[in-house]
């Protein structure tokens, strides 16, 4: 796997410093407080999971990182640099990619065109070719369907396409929003194996997931979000054995 874009390797990061840092992030939708002060840190090379019930603010947290929703307070920093002034496009250029909830692939474009659009910002022919090879290696089913329109794919294939498309930008930090949602269990396994593979290649991952069991088994650390606030955080394995978590999210 060759994933992180060569030009971004130069971005200096002090030893032990977080790649992504959210401090006291607040977001409101017309008076309703969706995030009430979220603190979160993701270190280079990690897979960090964020779990929580529907409406806890998981998707909003990811959107605030991408600059898709305005902050009512707090700060988002990438490699120590505040992103407050940056547009979504600039954040993508700086190395953050999001595979959004519900996949949001472009249904009337072919699989190949969907993937190409992932490389819209760098348009680096060599990097595109390499990443395309990596993505087809990771998801062979996509390779077989390159000329097909995205809208004709199954839900699981669309999720693969959404992740592949996000990788085409060659991100340092990959944000995944509910990659298992509405997908056949067999494909879920396949997708999470791919996520682990991507992480091994050096891409840092922040994973939002309702399927707590698989999220905690894939990640190193995890945050539990409850009504817009971090309720718990810690080592993924420890959280998995936490009785409170078991009762609330693992159905046990």
């Amino acid at each position: 796997m060759r994933v992180a874009h060569p030009t971004r390797a130069s971005l200096a990061l002090a030893d032990g410093a977080p790649l992504l840092e959210l401090t006291d992030v607040k977001v409101s939708y017309g008076g309703i407080k969706a995030l009430k002060g979220v603190d979160l840190r993701v270190f280079p090379g990690e897979i960090v999971a964020m779990i929580g019930a529907n409406g806890a603010g998981k998707t909003t947290t990811l959107k605030s990182i991408m600059g898709l929703v305005p902050l009512a307070g707090g700060a988002v920093k990438l490699a120590g640099r505040p992103l407050a002034q940056d547009t979504t496009e600039q954040r993508v250029a700086e190395g953050i990619s999001l595979a959004p909830e519900g996949r949001a692939i472009f249904p009337n474009l072919t699989v190949l065109e969907n993937l190409e659009l992932g490389a819209y910002l760098h348009r680096d022919a060599k990097a595109m070719k390499e990443t395309l090879e990596d993505v087809t290696e990771l998801f062979p089913r996509l390779g077989e369907r390159m000329k097909q329109e995205g809208g004709t794919l199954s839900g699981g294939e669309q999720q693969m396409l959404a992740i592949g498309r996000a990788l085409m930008a060659r991100p340092r930090l990959l944000l995944l929003d509910e990659p298992s949602l509405g997908i056949a269990p067999k494909l879920v396994q396949q997708i999470f194996r791919a996520i682990a593979e991507i992480a091994r290649s050096g891409v840092t991952i922040l994973l939002v997931e309702q399927n707590t069991r698989i999220a905690l088994s894939t990640s190193q650390r995890a945050y539990v979000l409850r009504t817009g606030e971090i309720a718990l955080e810690g080592d993924a394995k420890e959280l998995a054995s936490n009785p409170e978590i078991q009762a609330a999210y693992l159905g046990g």
Binding site: G30, M66, L68, T87, T88, E89, V92, A93, S97, L98, P100, G102, A104, I105, F106, P107, N108, L109, E113, E116, L117, G118, Y120, L121, R123, G151, S154, G155, Q158, R165, A166, A169, G182
Partner: protein
């Protein structure tokens, strides 16, 4: 034989309508907005073309009151003099200049009337408010044209006289040959732009899902501006060809062709580029065939009737997308 002739006239007419319809459909695609000012951009482009053409051929009688003969002969002689005596080259150059000017106008309309409203308002207002400013922009441009150019009907200089021989069809007037040729080339070019270029892919991505397009790093406002520029320049091409072939220029001229083009876009499936081309051709051909019947005075009535029938069977138009995203 009469019917064949009418169909051929309908194709040339339809090709021109399609050029204008493309602007409606592309803007709808990226913004989900009916740009009612598009027909006025078409009208203004006809004036731009008239002014440039008059200067290029050195005959400013058609633009009297807009450009004074002195200004034309002194200031512009050096710049535009080169093409005098070459009517075809002058017409081509005037068309290109009009397309550029119309692009600037299209971008301006978007910046002034639509951009400030984007992402504001709630619920139904998100769609209704820009629709109202679009109508307002249309009225504004019409009145502006009346102020700048007066309400006079101004004929284009007849630079494209004569006929050309087309195999299989016999002699056709050179203006109609030009319409056909230019439309075909432009439509192929547009297809290439939309399918092959980064701009085309970004435009299609934006029209499918704005937020996802932004996540790819697409600068939405730039793509929107370029869409307006492209749509407006196609309308300008349509306007100049239309006027060279059959019309005079006047401030309310956008209404007639604008209505037909809008119907063509909806008929073909608004948002679909191939649909707009198909819709334009259909409207053109149906319009000419109606002229052969006893209902020859009600071309638009029949055209709208066809629209309603098609929409009853296919609510999204002939090629419109009815696909809902799988979840």
């Amino acid at each position: 034989m009469n019917i064949l002739e009418a169909v051929f006239t309908g194709i040339t007419q339809g090709a021109m309508i399609a050029l204008v319809a493309l602007g409606y459909t592309m803007v709808y695609g990226v913004l989900k907005l009916i740009n009612f000012a598009h027909s006025e951009v078409f009208m203004m482009a006809a004036y731009f073309g008239l002014v440039f053409l008059s200067l290029l051929i050195g005959d400013v009688s058609a633009v009297n009151g807009i450009v004074s003969p002195e200004a034309a002969s002194s200031t512009f002689a050096g710049v535009f003099g080169a093409l005098r005596g070459h009517p075809l080259a002058a017409a081509a150059a005037a068309t290109v200049l009009a397309m550029l000017a119309a692009s600037a106008l299209g971008i301006g309309v978007e910046r002034v009337a639509y951009k400030p409203l984007r992402g504001r308002g709630k619920g139904a207002l998100v769609r209704v408010t820009p629709l109202v400013t679009a109508l307002g922009m249309s009225v504004l441009l019409q009145n502006l044209a009346q102020l700048l150019f007066t309400a006079r009907f101004r004929p284009y200089p007849q630079v494209l006289s004569g006929e050309v021989q087309v195999p299989g069809l016999g002699a056709i007037t050179s203006s109609r040959a030009l319409i056909l040729g230019a439309s075909i080339i432009v439509m192929i070019g547009l297809e290439l732009i939309v399918k092959r270029t980064w701009f085309g892919k970004a435009m299609r991505a934006l029209s499918a899902n704005e937020e996802a397009a932004r996540l790819m790093g697409v600068r939405t406002s730039r793509v929107i501006s370029m869409t307006f520029a492209l749509g407006s320049s196609l309308a300008a091409l349509g306007a100049v060809l239309f006027c060279l072939d059959q019309s005079q220029v006047y401030p309310t001229m956008g209404v007639v062709i604008g209505t037909r083009a809008f119907v063509a876009a909806v008929l073909g499936g608004i948002g679909s580029i191939t649909g707009a081309m198909l819709g334009g051709l259909l409207i053109g051909i149906i319009g000419e065939l109606v002229k052969l019947t006893d209902y020859s005075g009600g071309v638009d009535v029949l055209v709208f009737l066809v629209l309603i029938l098609v929409l009853l069977v296919r609510p999204a138009g002939l090629l419109g997308s009815t696909r809902t995203e799988k979840v």
